[in-house]
Symmetry: C2
Amino acid sequence: MKAALFATAVFMAPCITLADPLPSWGTSQSKDRIVAFVDAVTDPDNPDYVTPSDRIAVFDNDGTLWAEQPVYFQLTFAMDRLAELAAANPSILTSPTLEAAAKGELQTIAEGGHEALIEVLNASHSGISVEEFQASVTKWLDTARHPDTGLPYDQMTYQPMVELLRYLRDEGFRTYIVSGGGLHFMRVFAEDAYGVPPEQVLGTYTGTTYETADGTPTIIKAPGIAFVDDKEGKPINIERTLGRRPILAGGNSDGDFAMLEWTTAGHGPRLGILIHHTDAEREWAYDRESPIGKLVDGLNKGPDMGWVIVDMAQDWNRIYTGSE
Amino acid sequence: MKAALFATAVFMAPCITLADPLPSWGTSQSKDRIVAFVDAVTDPDNPDYVTPSDRIAVFDNDGTLWAEQPVYFQLTFAMDRLAELAAANPSILTSPTLEAAAKGELQTIAEGGHEALIEVLNASHSGISVEEFQASVTKWLDTARHPDTGLPYDQMTYQPMVELLRYLRDEGFRTYIVSGGGLHFMRVFAEDAYGVPPEQVLGTYTGTTYETADGTPTIIKAPGIAFVDDKEGKPINIERTLGRRPILAGGNSDGDFAMLEWTTAGHGPRLGILIHHTDAEREWAYDRESPIGKLVDGLNKGPDMGWVIVDMAQDWNRIYTGSE
Ligand SMILES: [Ca+2]
Ligand SMILES: [Ca+2]
């Protein structure tokens, strides 16, 4: 019996590696380095072998796993939600900022800076249960369309990154999202879009309260931001939530610098990946001067730190999951 | 080939269920109800079947998975560490509270209340990297012994609960610790003692900072408590970290009431378990009047809410993992 089982294993093993796990990545140094890294850490005979429990890969979301132009998609959701709430009850627009937001006047919000942003977030993201909030995100994803591509927002995920996440999981990694985006917002689509379950999504969060007033315990989103999952907040959040240092980190902006720095400074094999938005034809081209996804430190220091700088225009055969 | 494999499966399947997965639990209603619950949620033909991804079980630690008398073990660690630090550098004992703590004068700390506790925690738990802190916990566990039992503290885990955790995992559950104890403290022993990996340990935490001053990125424990994982904090922390409501929760004090309430109020099959400390012979007997592990609401309301109240003296054949 054992001999028969062994024979099966020997026959089947070669088949498993035949298909390219990253078909949307063109032949490139980026792809070669990623595959070489994964091969090394998963080969028990390689000195760089890493046990599965430590195969943790973390990825930023906006600009890394899905697009982020012309504005973070979550801000579009916030404004759309404000407009919808105001249609039913115009009195909620208690300030010129909120009135502008409900009309989709991005320029006004941008000029209002952090204070305006918090005002819009509070009015659109708090005072309701997590369940109600997430139902409103689901509905928005079903109906809203991106102004330039006409795609549902959750189909503007990057097909090469979706493949990378799947490939890593197939090789025994656990894949996490660690993003400046809202925790409760991202959890709505992360499992369907990326195969990342809710407990592997880390993000910025509002406070919550536990209420039993009506006899049913409910968790309610409170106003204000309790934790910003950006810059140093990323390694801090990972350490607090996982208690492990990842061996692979991917991002696209200087908000990811500390996460990649901490990841790749660990002992043993490590990989940092930066997505460089170079494709003005198929997506957007932006880096050092962009108000969204600004990338300066990563371009200046990343190559010397051994990070893979992915050139979207050169390295990717395909961009969005939702368009062939 | 397939027929041979199938024959093996049929031959071997019956063997798997023969051994009692909970040998340290005596015959009791508590054990019967726990096993019946697990059987139901893992049987695809049962209307109460729950898919593995939603089989989340959460457990308090102090008084639920290990003992907590005469004081929380982490407080003993804090005082022992202060004494050790002061032996090398007496000037760190900058107040009568800290002097008393380094001498192990529990009464003084107790009388100083929350403020004294924070002072002791700050002096013993902050200003060092997470790695250094955890190394000091490892060393303490190797050397310190409980004053009454003479056991290492991490052998004063409850054998019946260690078996329950393993049983649940064998049945496709993921087991989490959600405790008022310190996150960084518990992660040192949770994997060896309970089989719970660091990313499945939730607890109270100090703030941390990300420092790169010496060129090496390090996460440093800051003074003060950033989040108290007790009472309403428990469901809040679970929702924030997991994004799922557990189907099973275990605790021993009113600090666990909200966690059990939220867990068992969910749709579908749910189980709440309270460990009632009734065994003055083999452990300690305490509940309504105890300053540590006070249990009033759980005893008053738990039975009507369908929670299993475990009678330690009656239901457990054996108490500590470290003593037969
Ligand atoms: Ca980004
Ligand atoms: Ca407890």
